[in-house]
Symmetry: C2
Subunit: 260 residues, 2 copies
DNA sequence: TACTGGTATGAATCGGATA
DNA sequence: GTATCCGATTCATACCAGT
């Protein structure tokens, strides 16, 4: 399995990708949430918003200063390009937090996707909230270009449990590879997964491990470099194996069942 | 603990309840989803939509034939009345399925509530979906009238696991009492929980068991009768106990931890 | 290796001080 | 009065070191 990692702006790079060239769009855009007021949301860096009260040395990431309306329109543009680039019957899976759920489903549908469901990612280790309910989930909104390929012998879970990586974490919003391995299975075996917000590259790592090809885009040179290093290492490991992973439909779960 | 159960239309009955008279609004309105097209939504009864493929003899319920826009406006009216009836710092918890998430958060905010989070209810036993992700969650959107009472020593989970009751189920959308017992704890001990769509009365049963009072509204005489019978029985059981439940803040979980 | 106990941390939130 | 900044807070879990 091979990967391509572009360095540049998501919209700009995507506009140069050919029609119908990928099988699935799986991505985690900057949420542009965090903060009590619109002013607080747009006037602080992602790091200030999402890591306040704790100490860490992770690099900041850009693109997290939009208000609700701008966020919806921007995400719709991204997903519109993603729609063009994805082949018919391909899928999109978009991460969001609770605040951006409505904006995300709007953008997904504005871009032409048939919104087909919402997945929950349960994070067992999250901060408590005094006087109310903690926010222990992030969400993935998914949609289809056209209609679902019901001829595939594929049955995926509707919720996932897993903690953010703690050891060896390099990005503020890094996802567990196990979670991403479950998600990339919506892409046909041997097909191509696109992630226009690659970050540290967990989507790509999962894609390669599951026998899918990967096309990534990352705007920050810092994270582009990190992702490239991770992906190259996975590719090398896989190449040194005696045989390639199977390319037929994999009906068994990549990881243990989602709920413990 | 005592309960009051009105028989009548939710809006009509609520309009006659006094201001600031309840501490929490916890309810599961008719979802008005179930169907990809507006035609599919309005041309089938609730029972046809939510129980296809199985045979059951549960009674149908009304109020499930609105399109998205009408649903949002209708729910906003309900929640506006609920806002008036709820005291400052009181909470609202509203169930919805994935399709109605955006409409629900819109209605909640249109009614004046400060949308403060989204909870996931994980249903382990749900239908698989060929070629994609199953839909294993329902959601609860919650909000506050004013600001959260951060002086309460209360920390509630952000997700819940539980299957719909099988044995002794009397309503199509009946909730597990264990789930509802966790939810009613947002109401101060000894306070009052309002549920304008009482159905078979699980919210009320949970409220009484957790030492909260209950005000319910149910339009269908059939379900009003069922709820009244259930609630009366719980009230009788509690009265025959040697002592009442404690009225101080209960910091321990009512049930086992949410996951697993 | 399996278990135990100690420690650190999280896409946070909020009130109140400061500018 | 408004916008911004600062710091205290909380629990479940993951990780680590030691037995």
């Amino acid at each position: 399995m091979t990967y391509t990692l572009h360095q540049g702006d998501a919209l700009g790079v995507m506009s140069r990708l050919p029609d119908d060239s990928v099988d699935a769009l799986i991505t985690d855009p900057p949420y542009n949430s965090g903060g009590r007021t619109s002013k607080e949301r747009v006037s602080r860096t992602a790091r200030d918003k999402y890591t306040s009260g704790t100490v860490n040395t992770l690099a900041d990431f850009p693109g997290d200063q939009k208000d609700q309306r701008a966020y919806t329109r921007w995400l719709a543009e991204i997903l519109t390009e993603g729609y063009r680039v994805t082949r018919p019957q391909g899928l999109a899976v978009v991460f969001c937090d609770w605040r951006q759920g409505p904006a995300t489903s709007d953008a997904l549908q504005m871009a032409g996707w048939l919104w087909s469901g919402t997945l929950s990612w349960i994070k067992p280790a999250c901060r408590p909230r005094k006087g109310g309910f903690r926010q222990s989930c992030e969400y993935m909104f998914w949609g289809v270009k056209g209609s679902l390929d019901s001829s595939r012998d594929l049955y995926l879970p509707g919720h996932f449990t897993g903690s953010q990586p703690r050891k060896g974490r390099v990005h503020i919003t890094q996802k567990p590879v196990e979670l991403m391995r479950d998600l990339v299975r919506v892409c046909v075996p041997g097909g191509t997964v696109l992630d226009p917000f690659t970050g540290s590259g967990s989507t790509g790592v999962a894609a390669l491990l599951e026998g899918r090809q990967f096309v990534g885009i990352e705007v920050t040179p810092h994270y582009w470099q990190i992702a490239d290093t991770r992906l190259a290492e996975v590719e090398r490991d896989l190449a040194s194996r005696p045989s390639d992973p199977p390319v037929q439909e994999d009906t068994t779960a990549a990881t243990a069942p989602a709920s413990t």
